[in-house]
Amino acid sequence: MMVNWMPIDKDIISDLLSRVQKPARYLGNEWNSCLKDHDRVAVRAVFAFPDLYEVGMSNQGLKILYECVNSRSDLLMERVFAPAADMEDLMRENDLPLFALESQEALKDFDVIGFSLQYELSYTNVLNMLDLAKIPLYSSERSESDPLVIGGGPCTFNPEPLAPFFDFFILGEAEEFLPDLLAELGALKGRCLNRNEILSAISDLESIYVPSLYRPLYRDGVLCGMEKLDSRPSDVIRKRTVKDLDCAPYPTSPIVSYIQTVHDRAVIELFRGCGKGCRFCQAGFIFRPVRSRSRKNILETAEAIIAATGYDEISLSSLSSTDYAQIETLISEMNEVFEESKVKCSLPSLRLDSYSVKLAEQLHQGRRSSLTFAPEAATERLRKVIGKNISEEDIFKALSDAVAAGWQGFKLYFMIGLPTEKDADVEAILTLCRKIRQHFKLKTGRSLKIVVSVSTFIPKPHTPFQWEPQLELSEVVNRQQILRKGFRNMPGFDYSWHEPEASLLEAVFARGDRLLAPLLERAWQLGCRFDGWSEHFSFERWQKAFRDLNIDAGSYAYRRFNYDEYLPWDHIDCGVSKEMFIREHRNALIDESTRRGIS
């Protein structure tokens, strides 16, 4: 129990709500949200998501942890999201500190603030939220009355650029661990340990990374290792994994938002991890091994979620759901269970093959607007390099089946800037799309609506491509130009691309080290927020921040890292060894050279 340091005038909140664009983002109090008496729990935590409410409320990690922490009577967890620009301005004008949605209490008055770190472009929002909460940005500057600031999520697999801002990180899947950890933090505090003592005490627990206990070593400006400043923590921090999904906590009463969120539906996770191992895909490696939920558990949980929420749609979610072992049986069982209540089931992502199209057909009876596929690369050679082994024949077969089943269009995802890619591979995207259109025009007489979305390859830690350089900005722009020109002359295609400057920044922070922390702070000071939103992203500000701190973005993004150099994330163990990544990387390039030899 703590004293209220920063009582908030709730009338101010209520007045501000009437002045902002989307007040419902800050209301709290939604169906299934949980408001507990702060005086009756031992530890009070906030789940902080550094993006807008609509984005954060779609995050499955939030739902899982919120329910499993709040199911304990000695703990509470509330939520906070990044306030939109209009709200931020009003909060600063009125000196209103960042507050948690449930109790409207100031963040500073909680014991633990846990940030969900899903993508690099949300980092400036983390700093902004800490600042709005009046919590010192740097861990070293926090006092005993400040909450512990912790982080989890995919970005913790290289948390170095954020390291000085966090008291500790939890690596991997926290649902079986977090409630006990929170209780333990409360107990340590109860024994009057100070912050540093608490951090040291937990630093030897599996999956806990206390960055202040490690110091990066540099030789001639190049990172060469990590020195431990305390004997307790281990040299390498291992991620935590749930062994059996059927036994792990899963939310059956998730919060139902008042406003539409990005994924506004129930979600049941079929399995975790992905066995495909595409070489660019970080999720495919850090969420290993593949663990399935049993059909019985899926059906029971799905029914419970629908009963508790009233959603009319449930997503069968996984990294590649069509790979679930008994997917067909499952779909027919789901259709049966939800026949009467007319709850729709949906698959978030489809493999590009006929089997997947058949499954989609079973699911979407009636609703046939468009199907989404991610071939990623347009030539077989390049698909082979990246480990996405589908032939052009497969693609056409799958698309034909989809058209025959009545789908009106497709959404196709490609990447440019992939390792070994040439202009010809980019032009092949146009050729493939043209072929698709001609093929179906001849066959069906009608034009399909095809949306093509192209992103830039980003070398990610813990993937076989982690050593690869990102394609330089000017070259990315050139290749986008090829596509832009090409699609201009191809009616029926809706072409969209990711901002290449934002992708550059993503690469910098994905592969960054601790030297980037001051850069992040500088960019935030210059006004960078919501960098993942094109309407907010300002490359000029970032360029100024790089200049101010004399940091070369290219040395992080464009440099080919060596196999024998110490990587900023080498002290983090995702479960896949560096040797295996090297092997896979070599295989990718061998694929390339053997193909070149043939042709």
Binding site: S14, S18, P23, L27, N29, E30, W31, Y258, Q260, G310
Partner: protein, 237 residues
């Protein structure tokens, strides 16, 4: 087929959600209640729920109406008994009654609405009831009040909304905040939002310093046309 009409009140925090959000909220509450919803025909069946008149964001309300169809006969008291526990506190179910399935939809009969705009705390010093009365008079004396509206095809069309203002009076009782009572045309035949009127006031020189946000808006009742007479829905049933 069983058709039920129901009335509800909406209180403050929930005033901040849109009409579509309200529909979704009711649908999810209805699904949780496990009442036997009737679905529309076609490829994409959905429950047949309508709310008589969309509530603007930020506006609270005393007596709003909705209509819903069920596959089985449901007694109004059972409807209330099962739906009420599924609704948030700020959304209060008041009453329900059975309507003949062939009766015209309530939405199609709505003609007008009575709004109250209550001046928020802390703004009393900035303007007097007299000045607001003058400003309103000036506004109502105009023959035309033209606004540009976006039409569906990204074009704009101008509409004279002066005829949509049926009544606008200022009330000031000692010890109570100043209040405007506005009867405005509403519904499928056309209408205007009370926010528009407040914005017009804001642009009058005597009211500078007060913005549309400084009033709390409340919809007191919605009116149907009964043989040329405007009546609250509850009386016109």
């Amino acid at each position: 087929m069983n058709r039920i009409s129901f009335s509800f009140a909406r209180k403050l925090p929930l005033a901040y959600i849109s009409h579509l959000d309200m529909l979704r909220l009711f649908l999810r509450a209805l699904r949780r209640s496990r009442l036997p919803l009737a679905f529309s025909q076609g490829f994409n069946p959905h429950p047949r729920l309508t709310l008589a008149l969309p509530l603007p964001v930020g506006v609270t309300a005393s007596e709003e109406y909705g209509e819903i169809y069920f596959t089985e006969f449901i007694r109004p008291e059972d409807f209330i008994g099962r739906l009420r526990p599924q609704l948030p506190e700020a959304l209060e179910l008041i009453d329900a009654y059975i309507v003949r399935p062939e009766a015209p939809s309530l939405a199609s009969r709505i003609e007008a609405a009575l709004y109250r705009a209550i001046l928020k705390n802390g703004f009393e010093q900035r303007l007097t009831a007299e000045s607001v009365r003058d400003a309103l008079e000036r506004l109502l004396a105009r023959e035309e009040i033209i606004i540009q509206r976006k039409t569906k095809k990204k074009k704009t069309a101008s509409t004279n909304v002066r005829p949509y203002i049926i009544e606008a009076v200022v009330k000031k009782e000692a010890g109570k905040p100043m209040e405007l009572n506005l009867v405005l045309k509403a519904g499928s035949q056309g209408g205007i939002s009370p926010v528009f009127l407040l914005e017009q006031l804001e642009s009058d020189p005597v009211c500078t310093g007060i913005s549309a946000h400084d009033w709390q808006l409340h919809r007191e009742s919605i009116y149907v046309n009964n043989d040329g007479i405007l009546q609250p829905v509850s009386e016109g049933m």
